[in-house]
């Protein structure tokens, strides 16, 4: 190792040359470098996720047969209930199609659910995002909606070869069209910064002044199809207080999101199905 390694002038020159070189680098080279470095490390996170699954598998194997029988019968009960709901849903879909045809209405966008595992969560004060284990290899489109059993998760922000990055609904830069339950008037949902050790929160804006909410009976905020990304009626969160906005024309309020959002293991990406147009 040399005795003196950093000389002020030389160090300054090296820093300036390197920064100038980076600044002059064409955008396509930068993009290529970014993709290369991303794809280089992506398999590491996938392997880590597979290892976690294997660990869960072996821990589940240690459960007794009685526990498994009990869980099986519980699933069978749930299955029966879901089958009944599915029948009801199918009959409603038929009715909807009939009405659309009768009234000559454009049909609602249809989606295919691509269920995938979450391999990494990144919940900093700067950004809130997660990485899923499916990307271009499963035709995940950029900007697609992402949901889970509790409602809206976020939106696909970047798609890579075998992974995709999702911007969470609690992210500061996230916004979407929404409406309250039993009130079709559109409002705007915006993500806000969240404090540590607290449940994630958002903000609702452009709420009509005649709409009231009380903390004892919070109102359910749902997704709206107006944005063109999310289907209607998915849970975003609950609003328990509304205050007049600065201009006095609308109300704003804090949205309480589901705590499970911070520790999701599995989500579904909604991929729009292209409906062939009739000739």
């Amino acid at each position: 190792m040399p005795k003196k390694r950093f000389y002020p002038k030389k160090t300054l020159a090296v820093i300036i040359v390197l920064l100038a070189a980076w600044w002059l680098t064409p955008t396509f080279i930068r993009s290529f470098t970014r993709v290369s470095f991303f794809e280089f490390q992506a398999p590491l996170w996938s392997v880590s996720s597979h290892l976690t699954e294997m660990q869960q598998f072996w821990s589940l194997r240690s459960h007794s047969k009685f526990e498994l029988i009990e869980a099986g019968s519980e699933i069978a009960r749930l299955n029966a209930a879901q089958k009944l709901r599915l029948q009801e849903f199918e009959s409603q879909q038929v009715e909807l199609a009939r009405l659309e045809q009768l009234l000559n209405l454009p049909s609602y966008p249809k989606f295919r659910y691509e269920v995938t595992r979450v391999i990494r969560r990144d919940m900093s004060g700067w950004w809130q995002q997660m990485v899923i284990r499916k990307g271009k290899n499963y035709n995940i489109p950029n900007g697609a909606a992402v949901v889970y059993s509790g409602g809206v998760v976020g939106r696909v922000k970047e798609v890579h070869a075998r992974t995709a990055v999702i911007e969470l609904v609690s992210s500061r830069t996230f916004r979407m069209a929404a409406h309250f339950k039993n009130d079709e008037r559109p409002v705007t949902y915006v993500g806000v910064s969240n404090l540590s050790f607290s449940i994630p929160k958002g903000q609702v804006a452009h709420v009509q002044v005649n709409l009231t909410v009380n903390p004892e009976n919070p109102r359910h905020l749902l997704s709206s199809r107006l944005g063109g990304v999310f289907p209607d009626g998915l849970t975003i969160g609950w609003v328990d207080r509304l205050t007049p906005s600065n201009d006095g024309l609308f109300k704003t309020g804090s949205v309480r999101l589901d705590k499970r959002l911070l520790s999701l293991h599995e989500v579904a990406v909604l991929i729009p199905i292209e409906i062939p147009q009739a000739e």
């Binding site: 190792m1 040399p2 005795k3 003196k4 390694r5 950093f6 002020p8 030389k10 160090t11 300054l12 090296v14 820093i15 390197l18 920064l19 980076w22 930068r30 993009s31 470098t33 970014r34 993709v35 470095f37 991303f38 280089f40 490390q41 590491l44 996170w45 880590s48 990494r120 969560r121 990144d122 919940m123 900093s124 004060g125 700067w126 950004w127 995002q129 997660m130 922000k157 911007e167 500061r172 830069t173 915006v190 806000v192 910064s193 969240n194 404090l195 540590s196 050790f197 607290s198 994630p200 911070l262 520790s263």
Partner: protein, 175 residues
């Protein structure tokens, strides 16, 4: 050959730390806490390597970190290179075997890095009071963790360099 082995050893060591911190952050996500200890990646290159050798390690780590961040690509590279240059200059005026000085240097680098990113992200998106409170908490938490591990981390990497043929005894004191 010895030089290449030393670069590779420190690079692999940093990659391991990088992967570990990412996994840790994924686990901490449930508590809305985020750990940033990127200063670890440039401590040993700045303290013990010649300028260009250390720069290779620092540039690779910066580009690797940048690939995941939703900021203009190259942000970490710029911050890391500036911090590397300043840390390298500071290293010639300090006792490199003195852990408390190493910890202070690590805290200064990490604090500067987090502050720069916080200001940049405030510029790129809406930043309310909660944004600043949250980032202040994350910074304090990260610096506390860094203060605990920085000395040990440099000791461990110094031992690794010695294993790969570095001879610190032949050096004159660097102060």
């Amino acid at each position: 050959m010895k030089r290449h082995n030393q670069i590779l050893a420190i690079l692999l060591c940093n990659l391991f730390a990088y992967a570990f911190v990412r996994e840790l952050n994924s686990a901490l996500a449930g508590f809305s806490v985020h750990l940033t200890i990127d200063a670890l990646f440039l401590l040993v290159p700045a303290l013990y390597f010649p300028i260009f050798d250390g720069l290779i390690i620092v540039a690779i780590m910066a580009l690797l970190t940048d690939a995941w961040l939703p900021v203009p690509y190259g942000t970490s590279l710029i911050l890391f290179v500036i911090a590397y240059g300043l840390a390298g200059l500071a290293s010639s005026r300090m006792h490199r075997e003195n852990n408390s000085q190493i910890i202070w240097l690590a805290l200064a680098i990490n604090g500067g890095f987090m502050l720069a990113l916080t200001v940049l992200m405030a510029y790129l998106g809406p930043a309310d009071l909660f944004y600043w409170i949250r980032n202040t908490f994350d910074t304090i938490f990260s610096l506390a963790v860094l203060a605990l591990v920085a000395g040990w981390w440099v000791d461990m990497q110094r031992a690794l360099l010695t294993y790969f043929g570095a001879n610190f005894a032949s050096e004159l004191p660097a102060y």
